[in-house]
Amino acid sequence: MTTAPAKAGWRFRQPSVIPGFGLTLGFSLAYLTLIILIPLSGLVWRSASLGWTDFWAIATDRRTVKALEISFGTAFIAAAVNVVFGTIVAWVLVRYRFPGRRVIDAMVDLPFALPTAVAGIALTTLYSPKGWMGSLLAPLGIKVAYTPLGIVIALIFIGLPFVVRTVQPIIEEIDKEVEEAAATLGANRFQTIFRVLFPGLAPAVITGFALAFARGVGEYGSVIFIAGNLPYISEIAPLLIVIRLEEYDYAAATAIATIMLALSFLMLLIINLIQSRTRKRYG
């Protein structure tokens, strides 16, 4: 429990009377390195040692490309659906008063708490041709279970709380005066919502979209049951990693994982940029 002596000039840290900096930071860094950084850099290193031609061959393999397309495509659609309905849910929860509001509010976190495998088999049973939803949709010619549509359904379930929980606090913070000012200046309610309130909500909505999308791209447990897992049609990228691993094709598993990681980080980067732009514009 010694405090490192404060050095003059460039300082790694500001002086403080609180003890334990070395101990807690040292432990945190050691734990972080052992559990997260070494294993993750192991993945990148293995991928780099593949060599460019091998890596490119795996990356451009039709099954890999299709799986990545399916993962990113379905996650995008699901996140877009969640943006619309999640914002409505957040709005209703914040602005309206009705009996059972707290229970419904708590329910929104169910996808965080419910194990993904449980969600997976429940959704599959629900949307199979004999299930409660499936039997309703079947006469309309809509097949959900064992199709890409099933993947979207599972990812809507998984992603919903990300949007609601990001947008909800921002709606709570909206200043009533802004709306009143808009109304006084002659805006109707529709104009107030779309031209005054929504621009302020945009950064939160984009963040919620990004979180739901990122989670959806990597999601495995809830999807594999309902997807049917047909190569080129409903096989997601995480499943293809598992399949390659089971075939002891470590090179392919590593390469696909690296591509997924790179794409996810790229996406988060782009969304961060969009976010800082919208923030600048709307303050």
Binding site: M1, S16, V17, I18, G20, F21, L25, F27, S28, Y31, I35, I36, P39, L40, G42, L43, F85, I88, V89, W91, R95, R97, F98, R102, D105, A106, M107, V108, D109, L110, F112, A113, L114, P115, A117, V118, I121, A122, T125, M133, R165, P169, E172, K176, E179, E180, A183, R189, L211, G218, E219, Y220, G221, F225, I241, L245, Y250, A257, M260, S264
Partner: protein, 294 residues
């Protein structure tokens, strides 16, 4: 605390005029859309789990739970949670102490790194350990020579779970402790308390509800993790099958009652988690800090 006037939303309700709220018809429409969406996407799956679990009566349910491999899966899940949650608890407190109580270079970067596991697919979280400890890795032959088994055994499952649940405690505590500042600790130290006394008697009481909140979320994920654990477990029945993996095996064997019986136990656990979480938020909202959501 419970004064409704403090909540702006209630003020809207009390003094609602058409200028700052929607027309009744629009309200009803929005509420209908929200409720229908939540009912279809959240409530129905939950109801199906219990409906299927008890579809052949309570006897069949109890029989499915009492099965030897199911009990082994429940025990393994508890064991994994009992090891991995305290590990991440200690890390979370240490990291939050360093990040919240001190100013140092690279702090923002460290905070970002802590959140890293959330943006990694669970399957990749498992894969990294397979690459690290697998037979074809650098460490593989050495581990084999010394008879150390990590993959397809409990240590691998624990590691994958620790990876996936890594940020939960830290990300609850960091904003909370940052908000609380260092005043209380400085007072305790100036009155002659040593570092540990300050932590146990001053800091810990301040953060206990936030800590419990983080542990609750961490535990729920630890017990329910599927993808990462699936990759490192090897799926040996009665040996390396956690509850979520056992659900998968039973389901793929067309044993719907068995699968949903185990699933309903997990769903029950999720509901208990949600109730405790909501109670904590209602009762100690201020002490958990405004860090809702992910």
């Amino acid at each position: 605390m419970a004064d409704p006037e403090l909540y702006p939303a209630d003020a809207y309700h009390e003094h609602a005029s058409l200028a700052v709220t929607e027309r009744p018809l629009a309200r009803a429409g929005l509420m209908f859309v929200a409720f229908a969406f939540l009912a279809i996407f959240l409530l129905l799956p939950l109801v199906v789990v219990f409906e299927q679990a008890f579809s052949r009566g309570i006897g069949a349910f109890l029989e499915a739970i009492n099965e030897h491999d199911t009990i082994a899966a429940i025990k393994l899940t508890l064991l994994v949670a009992v090891i991995s949650v305290p590990l991440n608890l200690v890390f979370g407190v240490a990291a939050a102490w360093a990040i919240a109580k001190f100013e140092f270079k690279g702090k923002a970067f460290l905070t970002t790194l802590i959140d890293l596991p959330f943006s990694v697919s669970p399957v990749i979280s498992g894969l990294v350990y397979v690459l690290l400890f697998g037979a074809s890795s650098l460490l593989g032959p050495w581990l084999k020579m010394h008879g150390i088994v990590i993959l397809f055994a409990v240590p691998g499952i624990v590691l994958a779970t620790v990876f996936v649940t890594f940020p939960f405690v830290a990300r609850e505590l960091i904003p909370l402790m940052q908000e609380q500042g260092t005043g209380d600790e400085e007072a305790a130290l100036s009155l002659g308390a040593n570092g540990w006394q300050t932590f146990w008697h001053v800091t810990l009481p301040n953060i206990k509800w936030g800590l419990l909140y983080g542990v609750l979320l961490c535990n729920a994920r630890a017990m329910g993790e599927f993808g990462a654990v699936s990759v490192v477990s090897g799926h040996i029945r009665g040996m390396t099958n956690t509850m979520p993996l056992h659900v998968e095996i039973l389901y793929n064997e067309y044993n719907a009652v068995g699968a949903f019986a185990v699933a309903s136990v997990l769903a029950g656990l999720a509901l208990v988690t949600l109730v405790l979480k909501t109670l904590l938020e209602l009762r100690y909202g201020a002490e958990i800090a405004a860090t809702r959501g992910h």
